[in-house]
């Protein structure tokens, strides 16, 4: 719970989880391709955004 209070941690966590789930999602018949594309876009957003906020909180850059 404490971990989630760090800025960007939640977004990064969701991004990483979605990135890991890309493979299994692709296995779903008929809509797997679409789900994987959506998961990739959202995972990218989560990892970049969460990573940026986390880095900013740690280093103070961009403030």
């Amino acid at each position: 719970m404490k971990l989630l209070k760090i800025p960007g941690a939640s977004l990064l966590l969701v991004g990483v989880v979605l990135f890991v789930l890309r493979g299994p999602l692709y296995g779903i018949p008929a809509i797997g391709g679409m789900l994987r594309t959506m998961a990739t876009i959202l995972a990218g957003f989560g990892i970049i955004g969460g990573g940026y906020l986390l880095l900013r909180a740690v280093t103070g850059m961009g403030r």
Partner: protein, 333 residues
Amino acid sequence: MASKTPVTAPVTLTNIDSSSWEHQTDRAALGALQQIPGFDTLLKKVVGIFGEKNIATIYQAAAVKVGPTQYPSIHESLVKVCAVLDTDVPPLYISQTPLVNAGAVGMDNPFIVLNSSLIELMGPAEIEAVLGHEVGHIMSEHSLYRTLLFLILDFSAPSMPIVGQAILPIMLALQEWSRKAEISCDRAGLLATQNLDAAMAMHAIMAGGIRGRIDELDIDAFIEQSDEYREATGLTAYYRMMATIGRSHPFPVIRVAELRNWVDSGDYAAIVGGEYRQRGDARPVMDDVKDAGREFSDRAAKVFEDSDRYVNDALLNFINAAKDRFDGTSTSV
């Protein structure tokens, strides 16, 4: 929809340079493109040969050219707007079209087109705001790059799928610039009329004006609607971003909000008070690029922060609900 602010004669902005009101992203993009040697000239030649003359001929043939004896009140409005912005009066055509719209066309000999339905819906003050907006496009020389955007949109994506994908980032960047160019020219429209109610009413009418019922249009309610849209968070904010990304024009509610922000920032009052850049006072392009970069970075950080907050709330709610279910206790956060 009566005007709430007292309307006084607008102040003439002698020798004003368009960079005084241009949005920093618009200015940076235009400045960067103008730095490429020969790019402007080449593009002007290509577009001039294939587009401008052709379009000008069509309007000359199929629309009505406004003048001192042809729709004199509209001509007078155009002359007034150009006098306030201290610029030449461009040719103006009225085109019989049901779509409520207007445009500035051409580079070497630019002209303005107003659709007849726009004139039917709007009062003289709103028409002046539209004319000021279009004169702003001409003064900022937006036509060249807008034409480039429309050429890319028309020819690349539908006809050549692979090329379309390859130039997608360029297209999205041009669309982002185009949206900022519209915001710049909304400011020009406001400066030309110096009537904020009319400048905002113009957007409300474009969004959903009904012929014969314009007096029922409530600008304050439209401003509230604009605030509601801007304050959206979470998934709504994501959908809002996705709906905007491929558009050449910002949504009317965003344009109203941007106009109000600009007025609140004090920049509008400063210009009307005489503090503006004169033609010939060049500002280093890199300063504009730095300003634009800072603005993009702030916007991206805000999107990330909003998304993080939304995901955080969702995760904590999920964890609390799971705890409640398994051991009947709830953790306060």
